[in-house]
């Protein structure tokens, strides 16, 4: 087994916890389709599938961090077109700040060998 795969296995919980952060970051810049979110995440350690993403997006919508509008597509039925709400932007900023804080704390603790 490759070293990176081992890390993959060991840090599942860490990635799960950060998935919301990753998804919010993906949506942050522009309006996106679910397919775009999946596409962008697929190249990162946060690669996920619809089975996980749909429930997560519906929760984020319920918490009013994201919203969507229906957009016509060239093929098939209209699609949901997601974007961040202002609350979502605040949430993302908070997550960023907190992430930095965590990172700095870990550095101060001398975790980096």
């Amino acid at each position: 087994m490759l070293e990176s795969e081992k890390i993959d296995d060991n840090f599942t919980g860490l990635r799960k916890g950060l998935l919301e952060f990753a998804v919010l970051s993906t949506i942050s810049n522009s309006k996106v389709y679910v397919a775009d979110v999946l596409g962008r995440l697929s190249k990162t350690p946060f690669a996920t599938s619809e089975g996980t993403l749909y429930p997560l997006l519906s929760r984020l919508k319920r918490e009013a961090y994201v919203t969507y509008e229906w957009a016509e597509s060239e093929m098939g039925p209209p699609r949901k077109y997601y974007s961040l709400t202002s609350q979502g932007k605040t949430r993302l900023r908070q997550l960023h700040e907190y992430w930095h804080e965590l990172y700095k704390s870990l550095e101060l603790l001398g975790g980096k060998q």
Binding site: K16, G51, S58, R59
Partner: protein, 360 residues
Amino acid sequence: MKKVTTISLAGRAYQVDEPAYTAVHSYLEKAKATLANDPDTAEIMADLEQSIGDKCAAALANGKTVVSESEMKNVLEALGPVETGEETTPVDTASEERPTRKLFRIKDGAMLAGVCKGFAVYFNMDVTILRLLFVLSVFITHGAMVIVYIVLAFVLPKADDTEKIAAAYGYEANAQEVAERVRQRVSSQALDGVGRGLTTLWRVLMKIASLVAIAVSVVATIGYGVGLWAIALGRTNFVGSLSQYNGWPQGLAITAAYLSIFIVFVLFARVFDRWSSGRKGTRISDATELSLLAVWVVSLVFAISLVMFVGADFRDYANRHNGYIDFEKGHICVTEICWAESDTCAETTDGDRVKECYQM
């Protein structure tokens, strides 16, 4: 030819074959169960359905109109299992997925009427253990259990269709799943509690028994080799009228003895090993088994008759030479003139007479 079903996913119709329908149906049911506590279940389900629909449409690109099972499996795999952030409560789903088992007679894998098999499935135990317990109880109750068995064989309903088999095993009456499970056999199914403990113990004991049987057959083979070698070197020569047994009759005798031991223990080893692994194993064909049995019977009869003939001759010989058989030391001793260069020759208390002893 396959039966095709039309399904509606997010308001669009798709034609899928039967196994594909089963797959997508169970996927969506599982998703619904997982999302039971989610306030937006309906919306997420609609999202999922639409996504499945889109992927099916993509799979049907070049002129095909029916989604096959393998295509549906790919679609569902791409979708991934539905997970919410919260921990699901496995206890609930387990009790949901496993309705209580019912007591039936099960003919599949039965020895007699399937009573033991039915009880084994009901208690989720290895059927062999239950059979042993049953045999034990027959002895303890002086045979009363046989009557109980016969009564049960008449009273218990027989699981003769998939629905009843499903009820016996505690599965939902989904024909495909039952077929799948029955194919996998109960032994590979997770046994619970006491059943698992006893089964493990049983398997360990059977493994040990199988290893012992193998060891015995290996030792027998080595002994046979040593024996043949000794005969070839003329180390087992008899004297006097017993010398008719020198050479090939001895070889024949130990071959017969060897075969009658070896075949039994090899077969024991196979049976024990099969029991220890809990699987059916590759049964050797009836023809092979029958011919092995025939060889065994022939060698056994041969070995026994040789022992009787030679034993009688030994007795005669001992009597004629005023000898005796010392069973404790395993010696046959005769008083006779010492024959040339034999190391078993010894002076007796009488002086001129010598005693010759053969190891039995």
